[in-house]
């Protein structure tokens, strides 16, 4: 029963996030009431520091946030996992140390520098996705490798190698199903990290959307005392999305 309600709520949320821009009462950028109007007087959740409707902005910002964060988390965790896993059945001895040590070096570059650099070179959404992915890859690869380590020597993997399975099968069908749990958990965390890296990019003046939830949070922070809803609604949105994404990831494995 409760599960059903939760599921329904999750689907509803997803719908709102995906079709939000079509449902908004106002534009994401036009002021509709005095700044920092409390809920009620200016829209359901009041207005932000420019007098724009918080609800409309949240609805507008859900889709870009979800897409950017999701795609980049998927790309980062996915590539990281692929690299981490591929070290397991790799035949050349040097592959693993070379790959993992290079990723370690990449991990040592602070995320902020990495994202700044990528965004300078590719100042658009693709750059943002690339930046977040680059930040995620080394750690995801470590998680994946640690998990795959437990599995690599198992007889069924060797049997698959012996019968000449291609690496896609080895990774996707022999190893992945056994390490899916940790990887899904990792993906969930990467998703949240991605959301905030996207937000941090906005904070540094590298935003690629005008109503990303991360951006909304950063913008709402100075006036949090005046209009807490402008801060809390996107924070809650991200939290709910994160919980939903992680639950789904857990369910799927």
């Amino acid at each position: 029963m409760i599960r059903r309600v939760l599921l329904a709520a999750g689907i509803l949320l997803l719908g709102i996030v995906l079709f939000g821009p079509e449902l908004t009462p106002h534009s994401a950028t036009a002021p509709v009431a005095p700044p920092y109007s409390p809920p009620g007087t200016g829209g359901l959740f009041g207005t932000d520091h420019l007098g724009r409707d918080v609800l409309s902005r949240v609805l507008h910002g859900g889709r870009p946030l979800l897409l950017t964060s999701f795609v980049s988390a998927l790309a980062g965790a996915g590539l990281g996992a692929a690299i981490g896993l591929s070290t397991a059945p790799a035949r050349r001895r040097w592959v693993e140390p070379v790959l993992m040590r290079s990723l370690d070096t990449l991990a040592a570059v602070p995320p902020i520098l990495l994202s700044l650099l990528v965004l300078t070179a590719v100042p658009n959404r693709a750059g943002l996705i690339l930046a977040v992915a680059l930040v995620s890859i080394p750690l995801s690869a470590r998680v994946a490798r640690a998990a795959a380590e437990q599995v690599r020597g198992r007889a069924h993997v060797e049997a698959a190698i012996a019968r000449g399975e291609r690496w896609t099968w080895l990774l996707g069908r022999e190893i992945l199903p056994l390490v899916a749990g940790p990887l899904a958990a990792d993906l969930g965390v990467r998703f949240v990290t991605a959301v905030y890296l996207v937000a941090a990019a906005g904070f540094l003046g590298l935003s690629t959307s005008d109503s990303d939830w991360g951006l909304l949070i950063v913008e709402a922070l100075p006036g949090a005392a005046l209009q807490p809803w402008a801060l809390l609604v996107p924070v809650a949105g991200i939290a709910i999305l994160a919980v939903a994404a992680n639950r789904t990831a857990e369910r799927l494995t």
Partner: protein, 490 residues
């Protein structure tokens, strides 16, 4: 809208006079590890506040008038290409030694040395290398261009006087002539200053000043709210709007003469703003009151598109009334309908980005498509980028007109290429006659008001948060960096 301040901030420096004794703890926006006791190294608000009480200038400003500091007079030659500087007698350094013309000559050289992190811009007006000491209290100072009122320049540009031969500025070695001397200092954290009883301007009230350095505006406010400090300079409007719960705290404003102008500078070399009609259209189209209500939360007044409100010679013209029809017509006439313009902005000061976003919304009404170009503060003033943008966000305190327009004139993309403007500007700087100067500055502003490229939509209050008992805080130069030499606890 109903967005005026809930409780109007209190103007001035506090009700009662400062008594002698006590410790005043004040918090300002810091510059982190980049802060310095060297007056030509640190460049953050707290540096300016600290430099002001440790060191003295030759002249200072008081309510837009030049008043003598370490110098009593700067007498220009007839052609304005040099001036004679007469110094105050009886001034002592913190270490007890006497202040002489040698110190001033050294300071001129020190401040304009290119290896200074923030060399004084005075260097482009004064020929520092050729300064000659005539006697212990007199110097001859040649200038690089004619200066009609050198004292104004000496007051307006940072020109703190350091001791002859000084190279090191640590808590142990920094020596000034100011009202306080330093006892402890750590960049980005705090400076402890003790009253200098031998101060020529009269000993300061408080025994000790503690200057606390923070970067987060809310953190600054929190220190005062929780009693960790007595005074926080330059607090955000949101805090003022939210109010403070404590009865012994008050929100103060530096007053009408000490506001910060907010606006945009349009690039008059690029389409469409090379056309005076489009510039005028922008000025007619913006909703000044909405901007003041939104960005300043009502703490301020609308601007009249002219810079330097509060400074000497400022022309208090009526702001243009909003007239969308006329604005649209002008845009149409200029054939600029649907033009895309990039406005460069960075959160150089709170409100830059927000006002640009709002401008974008407002200019939709006259068919201009504004693309805010939000960048990091470090790249904001990159000359090529500014020259390539159609406009930039801008703000400024009440600095003298010569300083302000001088700065704009030297910057590609901001300078206003107008013959009448240039001629009047030259006269305003060079003329030794007060009347001629006044006329020239009036003309400069007439041109700007008629077809200029500055769009100043508002004058923002400078707010601070203080314990009721904090008294004697005054403004010399800019309200964001108040002078604490007369401050203390009531």
């Amino acid at each position: 809208g109903a967005s005026g301040p809930v409780s109007a901030p209190i103007a001035g420096a506090g009700t009662s006079a400062a008594r002698r004794g006590g410790v005043l703890k004040a918090v300002f926006t810091g510059g982190g590890a980049g802060e310095s006791l060297d007056p030509y190294t640190g460049g953050s608000p707290i540096d300016f506040v600290r430099h002001d009480i440790l060191f003295d200038s030759l002249f200072t400003l008081d309510k837009a008038e030049v008043v003598p500091g370490l110098a009593l007079a700067a007498e220009p030659t007839a052609d304005g290409r040099a001036f004679v500087l007469r110094l105050r007698a009886g001034v002592r350094w913190h270490d007890g030694s006497a202040f002489t013309a040698q110190d001033v000559a050294y300071s001129f050289r020190y401040m304009s040395a290119p290896e200074r992190a923030y060399p004084s811009q005075l260097a482009s007006f004064v020929d520092s290398a050729a300064v000659r000491v005539r006697d212990p209290l007199t110097l001859e100072v040649p200038t690089k261009q004619a200066l009609g009122d050198p004292a104004l320049f000496l007051a307006a540009f940072p020109a703190k006087i350091v001791k002859d031969g000084a190279t090191s500025f640590t808590a142990a070695t920094a020596v000034g002539t100011g009202a306080y001397r330093v006892t402890a200092f750590e960049a980005g954290r705090e400076a402890r200053l003790a009253r200098f009883d031998g101060y020529w301007g009269g000993a300061a009230p408080a025994d000790e000043l503690v200057l606390l350095s923070l970067t987060d505006p809310q953190a600054k406010v929190n220190t005062v709210v929780t009693g960790q400090a007595d005074f926080a300079g330059d607090i955000p409007f949101t805090t003022a709007k939210a109010g403070v719960a404590s009865a012994d705290l008050e929100i103060r404003t530096a007053g009408d003469d000490h506001r910060t102008a907010f606006g945009f500078v349009l690039n008059p070399t690029l389409e469409p703003f090379d056309d005076p009609r489009v510039r005028k259209a922008v000025r007619l189209a913006i909703d000044r009151q909405a901007l003041v209500d939104t960005i300043l939360l009502g703490y301020g007044t609308v601007g009249n598109d002219l810079l330097c409100a509060g400074a000497k010679y400022f022309a208090a013209k009526e702001p243009l009334a909003r007239d969308l029809d006329k604005a649209r017509a002008l845009v149409r006439e200029a054939g600029a309908e649907g033009a895309e313009v990039t406005i460069r902005t960075a959160e150089y000061e709170i409100g830059y980005n927000a006002s640009t976003q709002l401008l974008a919304e407002q200019l939709k009404a006259i068919g201009l498509v504004v693309k805010p170009q939000i960048v990091g503060p470090a790249e904001f003033f990159r000359p090529e980028a500014v020259a390539a943008a159609h406009g930039v966000s801008f703000s400024s305190g009440a600095v003298p007109l010569a300083v302000m327009y001088g700065r704009l004139a030297g910057f590609p993309g901001l300078a206003f290429p107008d013959e009448r403007f240039k001629a009047a500007f030259g006269t305003g700087i060079a003329s030794t006659d007060e009347g001629t100067r006044a006329k020239a500055w009036a003309e400069v502003q007439d041109v700007m008001y008629d077809r200029g490229n500055t769009v100043i939509w508002g004058q923002a209050d400078v707010l601070s948060l203080a314990r009721e008992s904090v008294a004697g805080i005054t403004v010399r130069d800019q309200a964001k960096y108040p002078y604490l030499g007369k401050a203390g606890m009531a």
